[in-house]
């Protein structure tokens, strides 16, 4: 710290001054520690208290949920079972898993070769292709939803299912392509070129050399995509709302609130059950997550 500069001086008076400076520096550091950590605790309360209140309400009795009480008088763990056994809740789970799981596998599998070509091949129109990928990535889904709905509903008769949301992922997902390309750019050319010189075709280079190196990035991208689907509300609203058998958790949660107008406790129990899987997965895959977020940001 600043006091270190005083240490080289040796006259007794100056040494005493240096000790004083050191003490005041230490005091300043202690004060800063207290300030920073009180702010951190305050911020932590802001981020965590909503979860706490949601949870506390989720385990209240029906009567108590109608009051302004903050702390449950009795702990009604059965609320979670009530929600779980609501007709449809398991179907929403299954549908969400199908949409997110299948959608993610298709999106990653179809985006990887595209990202590889954009990162490693030299061809005319590559910049244009990259710009179009970014444009697709930034396109609000509402812009194209009317013709797309007509396409899926009138031509293919798939309204009331989740297939209009899953099938397009088999044809590359712009965000996934973009993120994977960002990562593939960081793989040194020497690896792919060595493989090429050894007579490896591009597809084999991709599968044998690049794929193993890209595993962490693929994990991050897959997680992102999975959560995008898991959280999607607009897509299921457009294509699945007419058929309750095709609802997802996000869409179903809203209707659950509609069916239990005054029962905040049950609605909060359902909310907890929708939030919990994501948070559990996060604790298992924290590193991949954070990596993915930074991948979106800066590397170029």
């Amino acid at each position: 710290m600043t006091s270190m500069t005083g240490l080289t001086l040796s006259a007794p008076k100056e040494r005493a001054e240096a000790a004083g400076a050191r003490r005041s520096a230490r005091r300043r550091a202690a004060l800063e520690w207290i300030a920073v950590h009180s702010l951190a605790v305050a911020a932590a309360l802001f981020f965590i208290l909503p979860f706490v209140f949601v949870f506390l309400t989720a385990v209240m009795s029906d009567d108590q949920a109608l009051t302004r009480d903050l702390w449950p008088r009795t702990w009604e763990w059965g609320n979670f079972a009530t929600v779980w056994n609501t007709p449809g809740f398991l179907t929403w789970w299954r549908n969400t898993l199908l949409y997110a799981g299948l959608g993610t596998v298709l999106a990653v599998a179809s985006s990887l070769p595209v990202a590889y070509a954009l990162a490693k091949f030299r061809f005319r129109g590559r910049n244009l292709a990259m710009m179009l990928v970014i444009a697709m990535m930034m396109l609000p889904p509402q812009v194209v939803v009317v013709p797309m709905y007509l396409f899926w509903a009138k031509q293919l008769d798939l309204a009331g299912t989740l297939w209009p949301l899953i099938i397009p992922f088999a044809f590359g997902n712009a965000f996934t392509i973009f993120l994977l390309r960002q990562f593939l750019l960081t793989i040194p050319k020497e690896y792919t070129e060595a493989a090429r010189i050894d007579g490896c075709g591009e597809l084999r280079t991709l599968v044998r050399i690049v794929l193993p190196m890209a595993k962490p990035a693929i994990a991050a991208v897959a997680l992102f995509h999975f959560f995008y689907c898991w959280n999607d509300y607009f897509g299921p609203q457009i294509y699945a709302s007419e058929n309750p058998a095709a609802w997802t958790l996000s869409y179903g949660l809203e209707s659950f609130k509609g069916a239990h107008q005054t029962d905040w406790n049950l609605t909060m129990a359902a909310t907890v059950l929708v939030m919990a899987p994501v948070i559990i997965v996060f604790f298992f895959a924290q590193k991949a997550f954070i990596e993915g977020v930074t991948l979106t940001g800066v590397k170029g």
Binding site: H37, A43, F121, M138, Y149, F171, E254, T271
Partner: protein
């Protein structure tokens, strides 16, 4: 999309031409999933949207040409367009600005924490993971004027109790609060950027006698300004698409989720949460007015592309690296 070879084409014999053709085919093969996706899910619907914006079409009777009628209807007579645009602009200005400032603040805080940094980081990040519908339902509950914990605490402290999602003046601030709660993505991006600032620059500034504010102003900010810009522009683009939170908040707060016979009032309360993407849904899927929905969709498209172009111009990292 033909392959480009380092050597000039004229030098090539028949063998090289074959190789070039093969390499072009290979490129096409790798790109093919996306090329199909681009045509079917981007180019076709965009062209189709332009077409429908000049047509009258209710989804059943064949479309008929109406010229600019849809355009004048949206801008002059459709009651939701201007309120929606105003709300979207409000959110673009206030919500994005606050999110960037707050995200930077939380990112800075994280880099300063000495004890329990990992725990704090996880706690700060968690809300970002909450599915938007669940987070919105939770916030409508937390802020509901009747039994909500927030107003309960405010009342105990003797403070005024706002109507939050049920008051037109408070509904957008409530949505902003929700957006600030989910700051995890920006926090991580800013944290990474802050840790990348060269330490020597801070030490040099400190030797020059710069205080904390001056260090932030003259060392931190210049170093992270590209990230601030990135966060702002992507925030603007995301806010153009802001759909789920305001819609779910309005539905849950109004108590009308769209059951039998109930008509949900878009933008409850008093159109204050209506956003531009919601009007596409309202026109196309509730009023079955494909033409007017296409007009709003094109307005949304133009807005999104303007900001995307801005992003691409200012951020070289977004563009293909030259190698």
């Amino acid at each position: 999309m033909t392959a480009v070879h380092p050597r000039p084409a004229s030098a090539g014999g028949p063998g090289q031409r074959a190789r070039r053709a093969r390499s072009a085919l290979r490129t096409l093969g790798f790109l093919s999933p996306w090329l199909i996706g681009f045509c079917v899910f981007f180019a076709y619907p965009l062209v189709s949207t332009v077409y429908f914006s000049f047509m009258r079409y209710d989804g059943f009777a064949p479309p008929t040409w109406v010229g600019l009628k849809n355009w004048t209807y949206v801008f002059a007579d459709y009651p939701f367009f201007w309120p929606a645009l105003r709300n979207t602009l409000w959110l673009v200005v206030v919500m994005v600005a606050l999110r960037v400032v707050f995200g930077l603040g939380v990112g800075l805080l994280i880099t300063k924490i000495k004890t329990g940094a990992g725990l704090f980081r996880t706690l700060f990040y968690l809300p970002y993971l909450a599915p938007p519908v669940a987070a919105t339902v939770a916030f409508v509950f937390l802020l509901n004027p009747g039994t909500g914990p927030v107003n309960t605490l405010l009342a105990r402290a003797g403070l005024p109790e706002p109507g939050w999602f049920n008051d037109p003046a408070w509904s957008k601030p409530s949505l902003t609060l929700l957006a600030l709660w989910c700051i995890g993505d920006l926090m991580v991006i800013f944290m990474a950027a802050l840790l990348d600032v060269p330490k020597e620059q801070y030490e040099a500034a400190e030797l020059d006698g710069a205080g904390p504010w001056q260090r932030f102003r003259h060392v931190t900010l210049p170093n992270i300004s590209p990230i601030v810009l990135f966060a702002a522009v992507t925030g603007v683009i995301a806010t153009m698409q802001y759909y789920t939170e305001p819609l779910v908040a309005a539905k849950v707060a109004s108590g009308v989720i769209g059951g039998s016979g109930q008509q949900f009032e878009p933008g409850y309360p008093d159109r204050s949460t209506l956003t531009v993407p919601q009007t596409v849904y309202n026109l196309g899927f509730q009023r079955f007015d494909t033409g007017a929905a296409s007009v709003v969709a094109l307005v949304l498209f133009a807005l999104a592309m303007v900001f995307t172009a801005l992003l691409m111009r200012r951020r070289s990292g977004f563009m293909p690296a030259e190698d």
